[in-house]
Symmetry: C2
Subunit: 210 residues, 2 copies
C-alpha cells in the first residue's frame, strides 16, 4: 500500500503549485522556501517538509527551480491523466461552480452537468449540455469520470452521492449541508459554507470584545 499522505499536505502542494505558476509568469526562475512560506502564510520549515514527499531537491544557494518544481508537483498530484469531474445540481451555486471550472485550463475539468429540473435538462449550461441525473452512470462511466461535485438541496444529496458511487466515482466535493454516509473507500470533502460563515461570525464577535 502506498505511503499515506494527509489531505492537508495535498492541499498545500496544490497551493505551492499555484504560487509557482504565478512566479513563472513573472519570469522568476528560482525561489527560496522562505519566500514561498511568506507568500502562503506558513513557515519555511513547513514548505521544505511538504516538498520532501516529492523527492525534489533544491539548491542551498539558488533555492528551488520554479518550473521544475511546478512540473514535479503536477506529476505528483495529477498522476498522468487530466482529472475529469461532473457536477450534480445546477442551481445558483452549481451554475457558478460550473462556469468557473468548465473550460478554463485548471487542472480539474468539470465536463458534465446533471439535474432533474426539466427546465435545465437537455439545455446547455455555460456551454455544456445538462443531462438528467438518471444518465449519470452511463455518462460518467463512458467519460471515465472519477470526481463528483454535489450542489443539490440537502435532502437529495445522499441519494445523489450513492448514484455517483454506482457510476464509479471515487471522490466527492459536497456543498450540501449534510454528512454523507458512504463506504470508506470514497474520499469526501465537505464545503459547508454555512458552517464556515458561522465559524467566522463566532470569532468576529469574540474579537469585537477586546
Amino acid at each position: 500500500m502506498m505511503n499515506v499522505i494527509s489531505d492537508k499536505v495535498v492541499s498545500r502542494l496544490s497551493q505551492y503549485r499555484r504560487l509557482l505558476s504565478q512566479l513563472n509568469q513573472q519570469e522568476i526562475k528560482h525561489v527560496f522556501s522562505h519566500r514561498m512560506a511568506e507568500e502562503m502564510g506558513v513557515t519555511a520549515t513547513q514548505v521544505r517538509r511538504d516538498l520532501m514527499v516529492l523527492g525534489f531537491s533544491g539548491s542551498p544557494t539558488k533555492g528551488y527551480h520554479v518550473e521544475d518544481l511546478r512540473v514535479k508537483i503536477t506529476q505528483f498530484l495529477d498522476g498522468h491523466e487530466r482529472q475529469l469531474a461532473c457536477i450534480c445540481g445546477i442551481g445558483n451555486l452549481g451554475r457558478a461552480v460550473m462556469g468557473y471550472f468548465s473550460g478554463r485550463g485548471v487542472s480539474v475539468d468539470v465536463c458534465a452537468a446533471f439535474d432533474v429540473d426539466p427546465a435545465k435538462v437537455g439545455r446547455a449550461i455555460v456551454g455544456r449540455r445538462c443531462y438528467h441525473i438518471d444518465e449519470l452512470e452511463s455518462v460518467c462511466k463512458e467519460l471515465k469520470l472519477s470526481v463528483g461535485i454535489i450542489s443539490t438541496p440537502a435532502d437529495t444529496a445522499q441519494s445523489v452521492a450513492e448514484k455517483m458511487i454506482q457510476a464509479d466515482i471515487k471522490g466527492i466535493l459536497n456543498f450540501a449541508p449534510v454528512v454523507l454516509k458512504l463506504p470508506s473507500d470514497i474520499y469526501v470533502q465537505n464545503m459547508d459554507v454555512s458552517l464556515a460563515l458561522e465559524t467566522v461570525a463566532f470569532f468576529a464577535s469574540q474579537k469585537r470584545q477586546s
Copy 2:
C-alpha cells in the same frame, strides 16, 4: 483573556446545533452522544468532549435534552446579538451566496452587498440594494457589521480585505484564491474551492489505483 477555543470545535458545535434543530422538528426530546456522533460521522467521545466547553450536562439515562442543548449552543456561538455580514463582489458566486444567506432565518444574515460594476451598483440584488465598494466603511459602521465575505476576483481581494478592516470588520470568509496578509486580530477563513476540488481529485485518482 478568555480560554482559547479552536475553530474545529466551533465548527462542530455549529453542526451539532444544526442536527439538534432537525431532531427538534422530529419532536425528539432527548438524544445520546452516540446518536449524535453517528449522524455527524464522528466519535461519541468527541461529541461529549466538545460539549464540555459549554458546561452543559446530560443525563446518563436520557442523554442530552435536545432543545436545551440547542439553546445553549446558540447562546455560546451567537453571544447575544444576531450577527450581520456584508459581501463584496456580486459575480456568479457572490450572487449565489447572497441569495442563500440573505433573508432566510439562519444565524448569520448577509444584509449588504458591494461591487464596483456600474451595472450592479444601485440596483437590487436578490432583494438587497447593492452599494459601491467606496461606501463600505460608512455602511458597515452604521449597521455595525462584523463579518465580511469576499467573492471578488483574486487580484482585488487583498485591497477589499483592507477596506473591510477599515470598516471595523473582524472576521472574513474569503472565496478568492489568495492568501490574505492581514493583522493577526482579524479572523480569516478561506473557502478555496479550487484547492478543495484538486484535493478531491488527487485522492480519487489514488483510490482508482487499488
